[in-house]
Symmetry: C2
Subunit: 215 residues, 2 copies
DNA sequence: ACACGTCGGGACGCAACCGTACCGTCGTTG
DNA sequence: CAACGACGGTACGGTTGCGTCCCGACGTGT
């Protein structure tokens, strides 16, 4: 019934990408600086050098703003992550996670939002499928491959395994915020691998990992 | 030079313990409900059924209030925690930690304050010596005993060991907030024990732990 | 029994923030 | 080239919290 818009927004009447980007960046910084609890739209606008209206035109509320931007920032980047051995996979995974958590913004925002998730169901839901589901998936595949290769017993509990993998690293980087050395990472890889049920340390000094082409 | 107080406060001029207790309880509840960022003195006073003045007479600022009360709540209770075997110690430790983290207030307050510690040096310092130092001490003793008993290699890194012990449980209870079964706890004990370098599972079905009286 | 002095409570001024309404501006489309 | 229409920015009322001040009430020690 001719409900159609008379004309498509164009010219000055279209959202400017540079403003949107400035808001996104400012939000992340502000979130890291004061946390979700104290986050204020006005502060984000100030930091971005933008008016509040510019924000409200794009997002309807503080919650929507945070969730959309954080989700966008967290999505993407999923390296194949298959080195051919359990210990290799663990080492690589730890390095990726450590690299991500080293980012000062991430290391402040993630624990903050995870804490907030304990009292805000919407945040909880979003983070659940954004972070933990991803971990379960990656961890599950990692475990599955190790089981197929015979490195781990077939009854390995993937859920417990993910906790064992993620827990110590998250604790050290995000909570204790202790510097992370390569030697420590090696120790952790070894501990997690044997803890999961793999054979004792360094079963095959070399070989493996070179012949990863299947069939 | 006769600077002395003319008289010691007495009668109605002394802080009432019941009011102090009400404030403490209200603070914990409020902290769990809204987090440190959103915490307001007025809300605490309202919840406690008390005037703001009553709070300001006892603590000078929001930060001092939170730190003093949280510190008081976290201090104390330190069971001997020595069962005679590494796995027994781990099992007991996990049960104690799990019990503490099951408390809904604790499971909301602790992650929140730990996240806040990343941006507030005073909170960081307090939690450091309140939680983590305690963990290092308990964990260190636990590891030390296991090494003396020959259950763990002498070069075991206590710091990494604590991460390995605390990390998974904290992740599951405080972050993922997944229900915890006894079977899972057993799996975790076994994984951590072998991960630390102890011999394969269930080395001595019984004995041990019964003859704990020293010389 | 009286005087003491702090108690708890209510009220105040100040500051920050929320979400909205209105304004002049600007680039595109017909 | 002219009109359209959403743009970004300012201004506004309403709400909330901070930290302080003043008040009458109250129980103890002299």
């Amino acid at each position: 019934m001719t409900t159609g818009k008379r004309r498509a927004p164009a010219g000055a009447a279209v959202l400017r990408d540079d403003i949107t980007t400035a808001i996104r960046r400012a939000l992340m910084q502000e979130l890291a600086a004061v946390g979700y609890g104290r986050l204020s739209i006005e502060a984000v606008a100030r930091r971005a050098g933008v008016s509040k209206t510019a924000i409200y035109r794009r997002w309807s509320s503080k919650l929507e703003l945070v969730l959309e931007i954080v989700a966008a920032a967290a999505t993407g980047k999923l390296p194949a992550l298959d080195t051919g051995t359990l210990r290799g996979d663990l080492q690589l995974l730890f390095q990726v996670v450590a690299h991500a958590l080293r980012h000062p913004l991430a290391s402040q925002i993630i624990p903050d939002l995870l804490a907030e998730a304990a009292r805000n169901p919407t945040i909880d839901q979003t983070l659940q499928q954004l972070l933990r589901a991803r971990q379960q998936e990656i961890g599950g595949r990692l475990i599955g491959r190790a089981v197929q290769r015979g490195e781990l017993p077939p009854d390995t509990d993937p859920e417990a395994a993910v906790d064992l993998i993620v827990g110590p690293l998250y604790w050290r980087l995000a909570i204790a915020r202790t510097p992370l050395t390569d030697a420590y990472l090696d120790t952790l890889v070894e501990a997690v691998a044997t803890g999961l049920g793999a054979g004792a340390g360094v079963p095959r000094p070399r070989a493996a990992a070179t012949d990863a082409t299947p069939a």
